[in-house]
């Protein structure tokens, strides 16, 4: 399987990479782990004239942890997320998502920035990052901007990133005490599989046995982008957590998604699974919220 012909560039700094993207624009594609781009280039879905590699830029591989925020460089690998105890403690659902992605071989190459930038509606990292209200930093030569993941995804493979911009960092506020999150992905196999449905949920309680102060539920594979289950979220806020409430939230989430029939499963089945996974991830979130109290 041959790759198309292209010029290859390996900038050593973010500034140098930005200059290249400003010069080449949409003629260029960024490569990090290559686990998505290489496959698309081999299948001739994408034939860029220039491939700009981010793998030699050390600034993009940093993990910067403070008590209040987690900043993850775009080239931090998925395997590194699974191995980070700090991420596991502060953002457990993100680590669950990372563990579910691909295979060990893929996780050693795939990066967090790549998993967001490729914007696959079935991707494993966006749901948990979205429920944590993560933001991405988009950098170009003239400066940088911070974009909420809520408005980052525009459609399958389409994001807010402009041709002269590079996704350089992911920023997440550490959840407050009495908050927790959960992520579940459903597929046919446990490894090397595209998800059938994936859901992440987050709740923050106003005290150890308190009511739900804020809630976010994000569903994957059931729309052109990852979707917020707004009516489920509305229903949860201000209520005391319970199995019955989570069941109702699951039913509400089923109304918030727009799955299609495909070879992986019927729309009806995916919708039903959104209900089940919403309920179960809320259960995980509640358990963590109580443990973290």
């Amino acid at each position: 399987m041959l790759l198309p012909k292209f010029d290859f560039h390996e900038p050593a700094t973010i500034a140098e990479a930005c200059q290249m993207m400003a010069e080449f624009g949409s003629e260029a594609r960024l490569i990090a782990g290559g686990t998505d781009l290489m496959v698309n280039m081999k299948h001739k879905v994408i034939s860029p004239n220039h491939v700009v590699s981010l793998s030699r830029i050390d600034d993009l591989k940093k993990l910067d942890l403070s008590d209040s925020t987690v900043k993850i460089g775009a080239c931090f690998t998925v395997a590194e997320i699974t191995e980070s105890e700090e991420i596991g403690k502060k953002l457990s659902a993100l680590r669950t998502g990372a563990r579910a992605l691909g295979s060990p071989l893929v996780r050693n190459r795939a990066t967090i920035g790549g998993n967001l930038g490729t914007a696959r509606p079935a991707a494993d990292l966006p749901p948990s990052l979205m429920v944590y209200d993560a933001k991405v930093v988009l950098t170009k030569s003239s400066g940088e901007r911070e974009v909420s993941l809520d408005s980052f995804f525009k459609g399958p493979g389409v994001t807010e990133i402009q041709p002269d911009e590079i996704l350089t960092e992911i920023r997440v506020d550490v959840p407050p005490p009495h908050a927790g999150a959960g992520y579940i992905n459903l597929g046919i196999r446990q490894a090397q599989d595209c998800n059938l449905v994936n859901v992440a949920s987050y709740i923050a309680l106003d005290g150890p046995d308190g009511t739900i102060q804020s809630a976010r539920v994000v569903m994957g594979c059931v729309g052109p982008t990852h979707l917020r289950a707004s009516s489920a979220e509305k229903l949860l806020i201000g209520e005391k957590p319970s199995d019955e409430l989570f069941e109702k939230a699951g039913e509400a989430a089923m109304g918030d998604c727009t799955p299609i029939d495909d070879f992986r499963g019927s729309a009806q089945y995916k919708k039903a699974m959104v209900g089940v996974l919403t309920k179960r991830t809320l259960g995980i979130a509640l358990k963590e919220a109580k443990d973290r109290g």
């Binding site: 790759l3 198309p4 290859f8 290489m38 590699s53 295979s103 071989l105 050693n108 090397q192």
Partner: protein
């Protein structure tokens, strides 16, 4: 345009002229001549092209040769020493974990990386570590038994 890169493969330095669109698999097989690294799906699904790069097993079909410049690479040919086969290779032979052999290089390299980190893995850990390596003879049971037996 071709560019000269340096690759360290099995502790040996190589200087190779590569095209930007050559994968690490192709350079290892066709330029270096080490054909133990196999080409299966070529899209990162089967793991037959597994090599260890800077201590981590990766799909070499998804790595551009130029991205591997300066990195330390181990292929299946790098495991055997003057004393003979690597204990993981030995275990695969002993336990009958090799059928057609096409997945074996990748399986052994994934298993070796696991054992270097965790000398006595349980069955679940072994199955998870080799989950990116597909055996279409479906001889997984023998493979798991071989890995389990290495440090016993």
């Amino acid at each position: 345009m071709k560019k000269l890169i340096n690759l360290t493969i099995n502790d040996k330095e190589y200087e190779v002229a590569v095209e930007p669109n050559q994968t690490l698999t192709d350079v290892i097989r066709y330029d270096i001549g080490l054909t133990g690294t196999k080409k299966g799906c070529e899209t990162g699904d089967c793991g037959s092209c597994t090599v260890i790069m800077d201590g981590k097993p990766v799909n070499s079909c998804l790595v551009l040769a130029m991205q591997a410049a300066g990195r330390n690479i181990t292929t299946i040919e790098g495991l055997e020493t003057e004393d003979g086969l690597d204990p993981v290779q030995e275990a695969f032979v002993e336990k009958g974990a090799v059928q057609c052999g096409f997945c074996t290089s990748g399986m052994i390299l994934s298993a070796k990386t696991l054992l270097d980190r965790n000398p006595n893995p349980n069955e679940a850990e072994i199955r998870s570590a080799i989950s990116g390596n597909l055996c279409r003879c479906t001889g997984y049971q023998k493979i798991v038994e071989a890995v389990e037996s290495v440090n016993k």
